[in-house]
């Protein structure tokens, strides 16, 4: 991985917390703590927004953001394609594909060059 990106990703600790950042720290740590104590993120310390359980029949997600929301279906069209790809791929094929994607991060121009990219687009 690109060293700068690597640093940003794996050593990221916010220095400047805004109100939004504080809200996220408060709500997320409350859910996590409640869950550790009771097995339910909503039980224990008061939460401002009830996190619905994901069940086979109602596949709900909590959108964790400053204004939390419920996501009733996670990228249904796209994930069906990815599920198909997964079912059709061996573990080694998946590993190889991800390895190639990582190689692009290390030298992001390689793929475009191989595909005959316009050199002038490199600046973008």
């Amino acid at each position: 991985m690109n060293p700068v990106l690597n640093y940003a990703v794996f050593n990221f600790e916010p220095i400047l917390f805004t109100t939004g950042d504080h809200t996220m720290a408060e709500t997320t740590s409350t859910y996590w703590t409640n869950f550790a104590r009771t097995g339910n993120p909503n039980s224990g310390l008061p939460v401002g927004y009830t996190w619905p359980q994901f069940t086979p029949s109602s596949q709900l997600y909590l959108d964790q953001n400053v204004a939390p929301a419920i996501i009733s279906s996670m990228k249904p069209v796209q994930c069906d394609v990815h599920d198909e790809i997964d079912a059709a791929s061996t573990a080694t094929e998946v590993a190889e594909r991800r390895k190639r994607v990582e190689a692009f991060w290390n030298a992001p121009n390689d793929l475009l060059d191989r595909l005959g990219a316009d050199k002038s687009a490199k600046a973008q």
Partner: protein, 286 residues
């Protein structure tokens, strides 16, 4: 500190009971210590939650499918890493043939033919092989000892340690692999190149560039994020929730400083960590 990569995931005919998945065994020893000693610190050994992010999340999943860890914890949180992601110990799940081949590669690298020879090699030389470009990926092996079967099959059939879980992913886990200005033709060609003609074209159709401001970086960011994280997590949640309580999340909040300086990073991999630290925590691993 647990051991990783080469030291953790070795598999070989003579190593099965000793070195396979040592990383997991290290973590298990920590859990055993917690069980035996946490009461001295005011903790409750019958209420232990483990949580991990990325490779740590795969480890958490391992403990849920490795019987040696059953009973040592009572709830689990997996952030950005799930059972269906074909990934374990931060890398990948492999069969015994792959493990044998990798073991033989290690022997050949050091001009060895047996374990006795390998034991004389300095540890740092062996650890250096864990770098991602050396000898392919490292991962858990279904050895029949620590890991009884393919954990995906175990979860699908309910054969795992039943405790409540939280699992989820971030909205921008994986950076895109094309430059923003790549053309439609280049976008299509790259996906066909990576995923093959049938699946590549299917992806072009459900991720039209126009949905991403005609920006190939953002479009490929979404595709790889979904391929590696979003959709495996959806599959995992579907299987797990047939047997246990599941709470699923999608972390979309972009830190204010990130939003100011590099907004295209979005809610990237691990960016939720500063917020999710529990107020009372027993074991964390990343």
């Amino acid at each position: 500190m647990d051991r990783t990569a080469t030291m953790a995931c070795w598999y070989g005919p003579r190593l099965v009971a000793f070195l396979v998945l040592i990383l997991i065994q290290d973590q298990r020893n920590a859990l055993i210590w917690v069980r035996d000693n946490i009461v001295q610190f005011g903790g409750d050994p019958s209420s232990v939650t483990i949580f991990g992010e990325s490779a740590g999340a795969y480890c958490v999943n391992d403990h849920m499918t490795m019987p040696g860890s059953y009973g040592l914890f009572h709830a689990a949180i997996m952030e950005s890493g799930t059972n269906e992601g074909q990934g374990f110990l931060g890398t990948f799940l492999f069969d015994q043939a792959y493990g044998n081949a990798q073991y033989n590669d290690v022997l050949a690298t050091f001009n060895c033919t047996d374990l006795a020879c390998l034991r004389a090699i300095p540890g740092e030389d062996i650890i250096a092989l864990g770098a991602i470009d050396q000898l392919g990926y490292w991962g858990a092996i279904v050895d029949g000892v620590e890991l009884p079967a393919d954990p995906r099959d175990m979860v699908r059939t309910g054969d795992f340690y039943h405790v409540p879980i939280i699992l989820g992913t971030n909205s921008d886990e994986v950076p895109g692999f094309l430059r923003p200005g790549a053309t439609q033709a280049q976008y299509t060609a790259s996906l066909v190149d990576l995923f093959g003609p049938q699946h590549g074209m299917a992806l072009v159709e459900v991720y039209p560039l126009s949905d991403y401001e005609d920006n190939a970086f953002l479009a490929t960011q979404a595709i790889m994020t979904d391929d590696v994280f979003t959709c495996p997590t959806r599959r995992s949640a579907r299987y797990f929730s047939q047997y246990i309580d599941v709470y699923a999340y999608w972390f979309s909040y972009v830190h204010s400083a990130v939003n100011l300086v590099v907004p295209f990073f979005g809610a990237f991999h691990a960016s939720e960590l500063p917020y999710g630290k529990p107020k009372k925590l027993v074991l964390e691993t990343t």
